[in-house]
């Protein structure tokens, strides 16, 4: 341990406004934020900073003593965002934590964190799917986003430009409006690296969102932090499917940008995605490979008793509500088994839309518990005693064994609904081979 790191001896070139912030003249929040940005520029080898036009903050999600102390330090030293800024999850459902059984002390601290982020001028969106909500960035826009799944979506699907900003750097970027000129902010670094060819896969499997998640899981495993270019996927793909892919790819790997030929904006053709150069290598994604990725996300067996079902990781969209309602209606009035907690995680705005369509009442009658603003990894909403959960989310399936100490059955939304009703793991066999 030592305390020798500071802003002295910086190599990065700063402009007049940057130096003014660093001097502390406008308060210690500006000084700290610029100091972190400048030191990170040196860490990644950036020679100068660039301006960003928007930010999405993930730093409000983790509840710890230091996460509260960080943002309260910013608030107490006149910190305020310089660009429009949205917020990721917080550690509780801000309205319904009591009925979810969250301890009061925990909720109180999480609410303090939430309040502090509002005080610095951020919009209280409280969602990990900001790209399906307010202030989605535009193509080519320089932004500073946190939350790995949101970063993957913003870069890949929207064509906005951000690096995968870690907690507190997102806050520092929002306060200063500046980031190191580095990485995915620069067009040349957005070139595809690995070509992934979909080979011999039955077209029907792509109708399941979970299939896109298992592809994402495979991509993260196969390319780590690289930039994959996927060729051979259907060109009609929903926002929710791309969301599932990106979230899984950013969990099993560090993928911040992927290209899908004919689908994502920087990949009208494979040549365009590779900026005219050759792929570094080529991988064929066969039915076997995708089937294995799907299996790898599960540790529970068919028939195991189910304690909880989790859908909405990342936060459920309007159309995901609709798909769930369709599955529930297909069950002809059957409800969630008494031993199972069916958690549907979403944002307050999506809840409002779903409510207008009558789906909230329908799903509550089925036995679903709607949770807002947060997620099972940041808020204690899955029972401590839970041993087995079922999910259609690749990200949830990836993190749940470590974070929640449970076995997971990964499956389709139909599997989730049927397992919830039976109180036991049910898995539909997919026909992978064309």
């Amino acid at each position: 341990m030592n305390s020798r790191n500071d802003a002295s001896g910086l190599r990065v070139r700063l402009n007049e406004q940057d130096r003014a912030m660093l001097s502390g003249a406008s308060g210690d929040a500006d000084r700290l934020a610029m100091s972190v940005i400048a030191q990170m520029a040196d860490a990644v080898g950036a020679e100068e900073l660039i301006s960003v036009e928007q930010a999405h903050l993930d730093a409000c999600a983790l509840m710890s003593t230091s996460s509260l102390e960080f943002i309260e330090h910013i608030v107490n030293h006149a910190g305020h965002v310089r660009v429009p800024t949205t917020l990721n999850m917080v550690s509780v459902d801000l309205r319904n934590w009591r009925s979810l059984g969250v301890p009061g002390e925990f909720a109180e601290q999480a609410s303090r964190i939430a309040q502090a982020y509002c005080q610095i001028g951020a919009v209280p969106t409280w969602t990990c799917a900001p790209y399906q909500s307010y202030l989605a960035p535009r193509f080519g826009q320089q932004v500073a986003w946190g939350e790995s799944n949101a970063v993957a979506y913003a870069n890949s699907v929207l064509g906005a430009r951000t690096n995968r900003y870690g907690d507190y750097m997102d806050v520092c970027a929002a306060i200063t409006g500046r980031v190191p000129k580095h990485g995915l902010h620069l067009f040349g670094n957005r070139r595809g690296e690995v070509l992934v060819r979909i080979r011999g896969v039955h077209p029907d499997v792509w109708k399941h969102t979970a299939t896109w998640a298992s592809l994402g899981h495979f991509l993260g495993r196969a390319v780590g932090s690289g930039i994959p270019v996927v060729d051979g996927l259907p060109h009609t793909v929903s926002s929710d499917q791309l969301k599932a892919l990106g979230a899984a790819a950013a969990s099993s790997g560090g993928i911040a940008l992927f290209h899908i030929v004919g689908v994502t904006p920087e990949a009208p053709t494979a040549e365009a995605a590779f900026h005219g150069s050759e792929p570094e290598h080529i991988i064929d994604a066969t039915p076997d490979i995708l089937g294995c990725a799907w299996e790898e996300l599960s540790s529970a067996c068919a028939g195991d008793p189910v304690d909880a079902v989790v859908v909405g990781c990342p936060h459920y969209s309007y159309h995901e509500f609709e798909s769930l309602v369709r599955e529930v209606e297909a069950a002809n009035g059957a409800c969630v088994a008494p031993s199972v907690r069916f958690l549907l995680i979403t944002s307050a705005p999506m809840h409002a839309l779903a409510e207008r369509s009558g789906w909230v009442d329908r799903l509550k009658a089925f036995g679903a518990i709607l949770v807002h603003d947060t997620c099972p990894f940041h808020s204690p909403i899955v029972q401590k005693s839970a041993r087995t959960i079922v999910t259609e989310s690749g990200k949830c399936a990836y993190y749940a064994p470590g974070e929640l100490d449970v076995n997971v059955s990964f499956g389709t939304i139909g599997d989730c609904v049927r397992s919830a009703i039976e109180g036991a793991v049910i898995k539909e066999e997919l026909q992978w081979t064309a």
């Binding site: 341990m1 305390s3 972190v36 860490a43 710890s64 507190y168 750097m169």
Partner: protein
């Protein structure tokens, strides 16, 4: 390993400790318990190991952008590794250490090695990390 491995110092500092070497990438969030410093990712090769007070080496960071906040909390509560060594540049880990220094005047050195250097690391050896990014093996008495 004998002699010196030359690394690039990403976050400055010195450290001495036993090496916990991992061969696979990790996200500190979801990978390490922020209250205890114990590796909790069941898919990870060092699952169950306490990295508090050790030098933790892994090839690259992955996954969640909350990892930096986990490192800040580990540094605050005294359960952090004494140094982190990676093969690929790990900006989110570096960020955690830089922020902890701003907030608490405490940080851990972060060093990046090239592949050849990383491959020379031996799990369980006692290492000294110098301010210039050099890594030396230290003789160590058992117990």
């Amino acid at each position: 390993m004998d002699g010196v491995i030359r690394g690039r110092m990403i976050v400055r500092g010195t450290a001495e400790g036993r090496l916990v070497l991992s061969r696979i990438s990790i996200s500190l969030w979801g990978g390490v318990d922020p209250e205890t410093g114990i590796v909790i990712d069941r898919r990870h090769d060092r699952c169950g190991v306490d990295i508090s007070g050790q030098i933790f080496a892994f090839p690259e960071e992955k996954g969640s952008s909350t990892a930096s906040a986990v490192l800040v909390e580990l540094i605050r509560n005294g359960h952090s590794p004494v140094a982190i060594v990676t093969r690929e540049l790990a900006p989110i880990v570096a960020l955690g250490s830089i922020v902890a220094n701003e907030l608490y005047r405490k940080s851990v050195p972060v060093v990046t090695l090239d592949a050849a250097g990383f491959n020379q690391l031996v799990d369980g050896t006692n290492l000294h990390i110098g301010t210039d990014g050099s890594i030396r093996m230290r003789a160590m008495r058992e117990g």
